[in-house]
């Protein structure tokens, strides 16, 4: 058995850094000024006034649909019913959800009549290893809450963590994401600038745009390559509310 040779790696590290140091310029270039990017269409919404989320709903929906995501509109009161409808329409029997899902109570109450009668709610409560086969082979849908939505590209920003494991948005064939409208930003740059993930970097940060896809066979676009085959976004219009639905 070969052992992981820390000395070899350390020697390579010294050698590589010495080669680079011997050639690196004495003075590094000045830090790039990203102002032109933030003033361009690609990085808009960071500088100046933030575009109103209400104005971003329609562009978000159009862009998300462009990636073949389905967008459903819901109110702060009826979003659990919207989730239920999505499950019913597709005949889903096993829904997985993180323990930290903020609307878990409201959802459980809504689904109560079905629970035990064809529908099971699986809280993601133990390490993946404990129920990997079930997650892979039995769960039809995973439910998450989005940390932000990006209007220009129709993308969701997800910040998985203990309360919302990463595989919920990856393994089940259907991914349902609840997105409060007040979390809409114009561009990815604007969303990141608001979330400031670099302040306390989560172990995983995701940008998701539509269901999994590939064009590897003769440039023909096919969906459901390895990740979810379907992405349904429940867009909750909470703009008139005092507090966020998914806080």
């Amino acid at each position: 058995m070969t052992l992981l040779d820390a000395t070899a790696s350390a020697a390579a590290r010294r050698a590589i850094l010495a080669r680079l140091r011997g050639a690196a310029p004495a003075q590094p270039l000045p830090t790039p000024d990203l102002a032109p990017f933030f003033q361009s269409p690609f990085g808009r919404g960071v500088q100046g006034e933030r575009p109103a989320p209400a104005d971003l709903i329609a562009p978000f929906e159009a862009a998300a649909r462009g990636w073949r995501a389905e967008v459903l509109h819901a109110s702060p009161a009826n979003w659990p019913a919207a989730v239920q409808q999505v499950l019913q329409q597709r005949g889903c029997r096993h829904l997985a959800v993180g323990q930290g899902f903020p609307g878990l109570h409201a959802l459980t109450a809504q689904l109560a009549p079905q629970l035990g009668h064809g529908l099971t709610l699986h809280p993601f409560a133990s390490p993946l290893e404990d129920w990997k086969p079930q997650l892979f082979d039995q769960i039809d849908a995973g439910l998450t809450c989005a940390a932000a939505g990006v209007a220009d590209t129709g993308s969701l920003v997800l910040q998985p963590g203990p309360g919302e494991p990463r595989t919920l948005s990856l393994v089940p064939p259907l991914h349902i994401a609840v997105l409060p409208a007040r979390r809409l930003y114009a561009s990815l740059a604007a969303a990141w600038s608001a979330l400031q993930p670099q302040a306390d970097m989560p172990t995983n940060l995701l940008l998701i745009s539509g269901p999994s896809k590939t064009a590897d066979i003769q440039q023909v676009l096919a969906f459901g390559a390895h990740g979810p085959k379907e992405l349904v976004i429940v867009l909750v219009n909470d703009l008139q509310n005092d507090s966020e639905v998914c806080a």
Binding site: T2, L3, L4, A8, S9, A10, A12, R13, A15, I16, L17, R19, L20, G22, A23, A24, P28, L29, P30, T31, L34, P36, F37, P41, F42, G43, A125, S126, E129, P133, F136, V150, T153, P162, R166, L170, A189, W192, S193, Q198, M201, T203, N204, L205, L206, S209, S212, K213, T214, A215, D216, I217, Q218, Q219, A222, G224, A225, H226, G227, P228
Partner: protein
């Protein structure tokens, strides 16, 4: 020439790895009608998709052209300047950033390994696999793993590496290599893929339905993701300040490989690091639009450490162990000279190959290198030495399309010229030679040019020579090395231009 460059003619499909056979390979590739058709349509497709965001690659801005085209070009230029500035800045402090990255990653529980050569990198993979008693690994797309020939080296030790990117999976089933860095199976038709699946995957019958083919791949590979102990991936960007690995993909196999198995091993080149998380934003905007003409990919996956199990709320998934292997493999040679350093600005979008008239005709396999096309012709000489790769920089008409579309402003045509020069000449005093420098040096050719220079710099000698050549033009051989392979022989005119003008009374 020191090495045989036009030896055996290979049978299609081109599955070999040897840039020394480049010239012979190009003939095989050009003669393969299927291959040419596949590449032509794929390149047209990718060019059109990119143009929808950035305008076309051809020519300067038309001042009276359609406004949206002008706007797209202007937006591209702005974005490109940002991308170029970020890459140049990052390279200017590369050793510092690598040390910062190493410290940040280590603090977050990532095991960082360094490798100067492919052999060192493979030894690391092997040691990690053996430590875990793993007999297999499931792989996301990684060109650096192709560079070190990970699959073959692991197979020598009884460890199976299964490719999980659909294109890579197809290429691996066929026993071939990727022909494009973004779309690895671009050279295969759906009929060929249908045959491959029917032949190799039990319980699969022949179908040309792409959705069905993808569903088959999905079914087979999901078991692998579920059961594999080790997942392998490449990296698109490393962020020094936060200690993050950034991966860009559409399929979700990259997320599978980096999330589900107990151990995740990432491998990448030392040049991929940027300083700040926000530096990724312009580069990501450039990468996806340049590569496949998408404003975003399905997934942008930022990984900062393995599963966090300490504390009140332990995480429930993600790899328990995360390794990053930083590979040099000749990159520090490119870094050494300011002239060659821009080679390392590359973000591996593939736009240069998509727009290269040579690549579009011969495809990626003919190059015999991990990285084909224009970028491959400027990076491979550093990875493999100039001796085996000396023909690659000549595979260009210097039309400039590659430089024009490059999202980070790499002056590819200039670099091709510099490598042509380095292949033919010894290093200048005060400069360390490149590996294989001057390996294409040809004494006969040099003597011919020297003589020509001598003749041209003396009016008397030149007049006498031209006069003599004109009178003896009947002696010109009908066979003139490579020239007459596709052209009529060169013959000196019976009279020089000057003499003719004089005769016409025009001097």
């Amino acid at each position: 020439m020191n090495t045989p460059h036009t030896k055996p003619v290979h049978e299609a499909p081109l599955t070999f790895v040897d840039p020394r056979h480049f010239k012979a390979n190009t003939q095989v590739a050009v003669d393969d009608a299927h291959l040419r058709k596949s590449f032509r349509s794929a390149m047209d497709f990718l060019q059109t998709k990119r143009a929808a965001h950035f305008g076309t690659a051809q020519g300067a801005l038309p001042p009276d052209g359609p406004a949206e085209v002008r706007d797209a070009k202007t937006a591209f230029e702005t974005l490109r300047r940002q991308g170029e500035a970020i890459r140049q800045y990052s390279l200017s402090k590369l050793p510092d950033l690598l040390e910062q990255l190493d410290a940040q990653l280590t603090a977050r529980g990532v095991q960082v390994h360094w490798a100067s050569t492919p052999a060192e990198a493979n030894a690391l993979f092997l040691a990690i696999a053996q430590q875990h008693g793993a007999r297999g690994m499931v792989k996301g797309k990684s060109m650096v793993s192709e560079e070190i020939e990970l699959n073959h080296r692991m197979a020598e030790h009884g460890i199976t590496c299964l490719e999980s990117d659909m294109g890579e999976y197809i290429v691996q089933l066929a026993g071939e290599r990727p022909s494009h860095i973004i779309m690895p199976a671009i050279h295969k038709t759906k009929q060929q893929i249908a045959e491959l699946f029917a032949q190799h995957i039990p319980g699969t019958s022949y179908t040309e339905d792409v959705d069905e083919l993808i569903a088959t791949g999905r079914r087979v590979l999901r078991h692998e993701f579920r059961d594999a102990k080790i997942g392998v991936s490449g990296v698109n960007f490393l962020v020094a300040e936060t200690g993050s690995l950034v991966l860009v993909e559409n399929e979700g196999n990259g997320r599978m490989c980096t999330t589900v198995p107990e151990v995740h091993i990432a491998i990448t080149g030392i040049e991929k690091v940027v300083e700040k998380l926000e530096h990724v934003l312009p580069l990501y905007a450039l990468l996806t639009r340049s590569a496949t003409g998408q404003a975003v990919t399905t997934y942008l996956n930022v990984i900062t450490g393995p599963r966090r199990v300490q504390g009140e709320a332990p995480e429930l998934d993600g790899p328990r162990e995360l390794h990053l292997i930083l590979l040099d493999n000749g990159r520090s040679q490119a870094y050494r000279e300011a002239d060659f350093r821009p080679t390392l600005q590359c973000i591996r979008c593939g736009a240069c190959m998509n727009h290269c008239p040579v690549y579009a005709r011969i495809g990626g396999l003919a190059y015999g290198t991990t990285y084909p096309g224009p970028i491959g012709s400027i990076i491979s000489p550093h990875l493999m030495g100039l001796d085996p790769t000396q023909d690659l920089p000549t595979a260009s008409s210097l039309c400039g399309a590659c430089g024009e579309v490059c999202p980070v402003g790499i002056p590819i045509p200039e670099l091709l010229m510099q490598l042509r020069h380095a292949a033919k000449h010894e290093a200048e005093p005060g400069h360390a030679p490149l590996a294989g420098q001057a390996s294409a040096r040809d004494w006969k050719e040099e003597a011919a040019w020297k003589t020509w220079a001598k003749l041209s710099s003396s009016p008397t000698l030149y007049r006498n020579f031209v006069g003599l050549a004109g009178r003896l033009s009947w002696l010109t051989p009908p066979w003139q090395a490579g020239w007459t392979a596709h052209r009529t022989p060169l013959k000196p005119a019976s009279q020089s231009l000057r003499a003719r003008l004089k005769g016409a009374g025009l001097e």
